[in-house]
């Protein structure tokens, strides 16, 4: 097939290294030995094949166009196409074609193998230095890897090391290695593009994150190999980790205090962002519930709504931060106590454009407080009932005496009515005595009933001191009288006390009975109650004939359950409860150690004098 003219042409080129093909009438007439090296087939084999079969299918069109051009114009400006070698490698060839000047029917094509250059160029195009991208390729038939310098940079290995060995040595663990090999196999066998991010350790003991792409190399439908790209994403991963860690930190802190966040990103709009924790606190589903300002306001308990509206408007208008406790209806329909504080973000003109708030779940705390308050109220009542129990014996006595009188006079009247000399005037007098004894019993019973009632929820009202003292006396004076304890009430005028009558009576009665018990061994026995207005306060002194308390006792008397009385005679709660009652009235109660006698002082504010 070789002709003389062609041989002459060959003098200009090196057939061992240059790809030379000659055509006559579109038929291949000769090939230089370089083809064998390039494509892996012998020249004989090649000459028996259709040349089109050697060209990459994607490049057939351009190749034919160029050949047409040569036939027509006798030359081309040169073009590049890809050939596929026997071991299914891609070869980039740059062609220059011209008519044989010695034999015009012959077309000579001289090709240069640019494969290596193209790989490098390709490399250069896609890998900016800072992007740290490297590429490699694998031929399915040749089972050979080739890789760029960038790859070696990333993996920190010399360029001439065994690629697979290097990779194997690099990976931390089998999982990552399996990930890599699975992706590779999938790409090679199924032609699927793969992506993985894997962690490895370089020979320099650096931990790196590598993003890997596996792209199938195809000729038509046939997979001939894998093109790989790797990118060093260690920096990105590190940033992600830091961000995630920071996010986590806030999330941990906020979840630790059971706090959620809402973000009204544009105060001119409706929509709000809720953090996952907030959804959790308020028991709504993030998929179903999309908070808007109107919806959120509707969730707030009607009793709390006015203060929230006011707080938000103050925040938006005047940048007054708020921190409020209120109730919000949750996804389960129940109201929950939350504490919310919010800040406004303002632009340079001072206009609020965004409001961000934090929500803390204080429901358990609130319910516990309410429960505790309830328990306290109950203990006030329980202590009062204990006092009543202590008083019961004495009170029975006070009722039994009038009853004896009533029965006695009735018996006398029965006898008298049967007699012939019934004295009408005396009968009337007896009836009057019956009535007054009955009144006395009734009064004691009603005082007792009134005192036993739970007055913790009573409104504060104005009571003259005399009204309070008459109730106190009703329940105590008989006991004092019977035990020869002189009980004096000194009221300069009759100051009005703004209070819960029952509670103040309870406190005074408690002090009176404490005195009563304390002075049993003394003689003469007396207790004095003084009520007066002094320096803008109501002053109630309860003084008895005792000689004061020893300091060790005095410092403990307001402690709950502290008592000096015998077991069964006192609960030890009287003074601690009295103290709570007085504090609730805005006043104070204390033991006055400056007095020669035992003296307790109650000071109450004169609310009614306030404007």
């Amino acid at each position: 097939m070789e002709t003389n003219s062609t041989s002459q042409i060959h003098h200009f080129f090196d057939p061992e290294t240059d790809l030379i093909a000659t055509f006559k009438n579109e038929k291949l007439t000769s090939l230089s030995p370089a083809w064998e090296r390039l494509l892996g087939w012998s020249l004989d084999e090649i000459s028996k094949m259709n040349l089109d079969d050697l060209i990459h299918p994607d490049d057939l069109e351009i190749t034919h166009k160029e050949i047409e051009k040569i036939e027509r114009d006798g030359k081309t400006n040169g073009f590049v196409n890809r050939y596929v070698s026997k071991d299914r490698e891609i070869k980039w060839i740059k062609w220059r074609c011209f008519r044989n000047p010695l034999n015009s029917s012959e077309i000579i094509s001289v090709g240069a193998d640019l494969t290596e250059l193209y790989l490098k160029n390709h490399d250069h195009k896609i890998s900016q230095q800072e992007a740290k991208i490297g590429n490699w390729s694998f031929g399915k038939v040749s089972r050979k890897f080739s890789w760029s310098e960038q790859i070696c940079d990333i993996y920190e290995t010399p360029i001439d090391t065994n690629f697979v060995k290097v990779l194997k040595a690099h990976f931390h663990d089998e999982i990552n290695w399996n990930k890599m090999s699975n992706a590779f196999t999938l790409c090679l066998e199924k032609g699927e593009t793969q992506y993985e991010e894997v962690q490895l350790t370089t020979p320099n003991k650096r931990n790196k994150w590598i993003a890997c792409w596996w792209l199938p190399r195809k000729i038509g439908q046939e997979i001939i190999g894998v093109e790989g790209l790797i990118q060093d994403i260690t920096n990105r991963k590190e940033k992600e980790r830091v961000i995630k860690e920071t996010d986590n930190r806030y999330e941990v802190v906020l979840s630790g205090i059971n706090a959620g966040i809402w973000d009204w990103t544009d105060v001119n709009g409706q929509s709000q962002y809720w953090s996952p924790k907030l959804y959790e606190i308020l028991k709504y589903s993030a998929e179903e519930f999309k908070p808007t300002v109107d919806i959120v306001l509707e969730l707030i308990h009607p009793d709390d709504l006015p203060k929230i509206r006011a707080a938000i408007s103050n925040l938006v208008e005047f940048n007054v931060h708020y921190n409020l406790e209120y109730r919000v209806k949750c996804g389960d329909g129940q109201y929950k106590w939350i504490q919310s504080s919010a800040v406004a973000l303002r632009d340079e003109n001072g206009h609020t454009w965004r409001v961000i708030g934090i929500v803390i779940d204080i429901h358990d705390q609130k319910t516990a407080e309410a429960h505790l308050e309830e328990e306290k109220q109950k203990s006030v009542q329980a202590s009062k009932l204990a006092t009543l129990g202590e008083m019961a014996a004495g009170l029975a006595h006070e009722v039994n005496n009038p009853l004896t009188i009533i029965f006695g006079y009735i018996r006398i009247l029965e006898d008298e009515l049967g007699s012939t000399q019934f004295d009408l005037e005396q009968g009337k007098k007896f009836l009057g005595l019956i009535k007054s004894a009955a009144d006395r019993a009734a009064k004691i019973v009603s005082s007792l009933k009134e005192f036993a009632r739970d007055g913790a929820q009573d409104p504060f009202e104005d009571y003259p001191s005399s009204e309070i003292m008459s109730m106190v006396l009703e329940l105590s004076q008989e006991r004092f009288k019977k035990n020869a304890v002189k009980l004096d009430i000194e009221m300069a005028d009759d100051p009005v006390i703004h209070c819960r009558k029952l509670e103040i009576s309870q406190v005074i009665l408690n002090l009176l009975f404490n005195s009563f018990d304390a002075i049993q061994e003394l003689n003469p026995k007396w207790v004095k109650v003084q009520i007066k207005k002094e320096s803008g306060k109501i002053l109630i002194n309860v003084i008895d004939c005792g000689h004061g308390l020893v300091p060790e006792v005095a410092e403990k008397i307001f402690t709950p359950f502290y008592t000096t009385k015998k077991t069964g005679q006192g609960t030890g709660l009287g003074l601690s409860i009295s103290q709570r009652i007085i504090v609730n009235h805005g006043g104070e109660i204390y033991y006055d150690n400056s007095s020669l006698n035992t003296k307790f002082v109650i000071k109450l504010p004169l609310y009614y004098e306030l404007p």
Binding site: A393, A396, H397, L403, F407, G408, D415, K481, K482
Partner: protein, 114 residues
């Protein structure tokens, strides 16, 4: 039969003496134990009906005083208290503990049984 009635409630003294008079007894009334004490320094009686709790001197104090003086008169306590330790009092020599309000008929029956 002379019966001393001691109660700080005047009405009770009156009612008891009225009843006892009607039953043929001779009542003497005192509205305090101190008064009665003074009386028993010189006088005597066949029975005593005494309130328990009274200002200045209680019924039990009067009883103890009489015991000390070895004055042995049947001593009835008539009390409005409800939690009286009756057995303890009877152990001390009190004849009977009666609780108010008391059926007056019972008192005369008891006095007659002395």
């Amino acid at each position: 039969m002379k019966v001393a009635i001691i109660d700080d409630e005047e009405d009770i003294c009156f009612i008891l003496s009225f009843e006892l008079k009607a039953k043929g007894f001779h009542p003497v009334t005192f509205t305090s134990a101190l008064e009665a004490q003074k009386y028993f320094e010189t006088e005597s009686a066949d029975a005593i009906i005494c309130d328990f709790q009274m200002p200045k001197m209680s019924g039990l104090e009067l009883f103890n005083w009489l015991q000390q003086r070895d004055i042995k008169i049947p001593f009835f306590i008539l009390t409005g208290e409800s939690n009286m330790d009756t057995y303890q009092l009877l152990g001390k020599g009190i004849t009977e503990v009666l609780f108010k309000p008391q059926d007056l008929k019972k008192i005369s029956t008891l006095l007659n049984n002395i």
